[in-house]
Symmetry: C2
Subunit: 324 residues, 2 copies
Amino acid sequence: MRIDGLQYANWSEKIFKQLREGGVDAIHVTIAYHENFRETVLNFEQWNKWFEQHNDLIMPGLYASDIDAAKASNRTAVYFGFQNPSPIEDDIGLVEILHRLGARFMQLTYNNQSLLACGCYESEDSGITRMGKQVIKEMNRVGMVIDMSHSADRSTIEAAELSTRPIAITHANPHAWAPALRNKRDAVIQAVTENGGMLGFSLYPHHLKDKTECSLLSFCQMIADTAEKYGVEHLGIGSDLCQDQPDSVVEWMRVGRWTKDIDYGEGSASNAGFPPMPDWFKDNRDFHNIEKGLAEVGFTATEVSAVIGENWYRFFKDNFGPAE
Amino acid sequence: MRIDGLQYANWSEKIFKQLREGGVDAIHVTIAYHENFRETVLNFEQWNKWFEQHNDLIMPGLYASDIDAAKASNRTAVYFGFQNPSPIEDDIGLVEILHRLGARFMQLTYNNQSLLACGCYESEDSGITRMGKQVIKEMNRVGMVIDMSHSADRSTIEAAELSTRPIAITHANPHAWAPALRNKRDAVIQAVTENGGMLGFSLYPHHLKDKTECSLLSFCQMIADTAEKYGVEHLGIGSDLCQDQPDSVVEWMRVGRWTKDIDYGEGSASNAGFPPMPDWFKDNRDFHNIEKGLAEVGFTATEVSAVIGENWYRFFKDNFGPAE
């Protein structure tokens, strides 16, 4: 079983076919960066069209059991998430509405301060806000996973503690291995995993040691080191694959509508676009390379399966339904 | 089993308790008259709050099986519908979105011309529009029932013919019995029922012979006559009960935002508000009176059950899921 904990491709029949060629049973896809509620609904509508047009390749994912249904019919189950709480605007009632529509992950922030918490690019992190505490409770109630991939340290640690259900960092790596602003310090990974949460390892070059030149073995050794520290059961892949996206999309991610200046995020003026992927992970057909690499650095077959899919499967199973 | 095919009460714990006292297993409730998409979502949100607060009395109804679940737990299953296509605005993709949120009926028009068809108060009925034909196809695909209660004759007959699945008139009576503008002529009832559709009999006084003074036996004899003409299997109740609503609400129904003049609809300047209900049907505790009346005019016990609930149950079962 192969599950990817985060992708944001420029979706097409070509990519849906590559998901099948690569044996990817489920993916969590981002459908909002800065979109408001109505704009997010338009993105759900676009996916409904794809589900109709390509119902031999993909199907909607609502619960973990849909992965079983997808496997049985040789398709990929698609789960939705937001990288910003902008889809709920200032209305907590939209959490349940969007869960009903299929949203299963929501970041409490993108890079900036949100109504709920603080993003990792702000200079001051004042932690979870008043509304943030209410929204965490509501997400826990309905079964929408709190994702802190882009949030600042204090906010992330507080979210892990306030949440009565496990939270996730769907796409990031340990800061100690690659000291990018978006990668996570030990105290953060500790807080998330000791509360039952998941860390999805990112293949986005800005999150990798040596970026595009990162070696497969360096990536897999980093996973082995993380497993030793925090337990292999908390680890998965969240590739952050942005396949076939034009550079205008990375600008939308970074700039949204919040500034008139250009913000280069993890890039720079001279390197503003999407960076090229490492040659051992170009697209959805390359998960077998990671499996090979994990075996080479000493993972057992059971552990490889856990990291490549079984851990996310268990996490989906426990966290997408209403609280008991 | 008791099912009401249309209500629009001013909902409260008192009314939810009366539903239980009256043994009403399911109701179809209107949640939009002129609301746009976002406003309709706010109404879904309000119902989500009621489902949380009163989960001992009511539960969301999505499929007919929820009526079984409601009966088993001594609750009323609540199904949603719109009396106007305003919630989909000009966007056909919102049909599937709103179906996912729980909408199961949508009128193609309220009293006026809509983007889809013609309402019964217009002087000219040009039938189903271009968008209307597309929306009928989409409603058929996802399992949202076409309701023509407020539509003009030609539009209704065309909808019955164009739809590949049965349609409904959830709340109206035969025009021959009570010649109100909103009641339905023979050709209309014929077209709806011969395509497998349902007619829900209204208790709204403006639709009754002798209005508030209408006798129970006159109402039940009218049902008997309709059963003889069109078959008892096509008949149910759609009480149109607007319990505890202030008169400002009937003004909103009639006037919406489409006119600056006052439109009195079925009322008049001297009688602008909600008319008083007949004394044998004041609220949800009075369905047993109708059952008694139906028996008195000659219905068998099986036929009474069919009209009071079983016919709607079968119709819900066949028409709320995706087309095969």
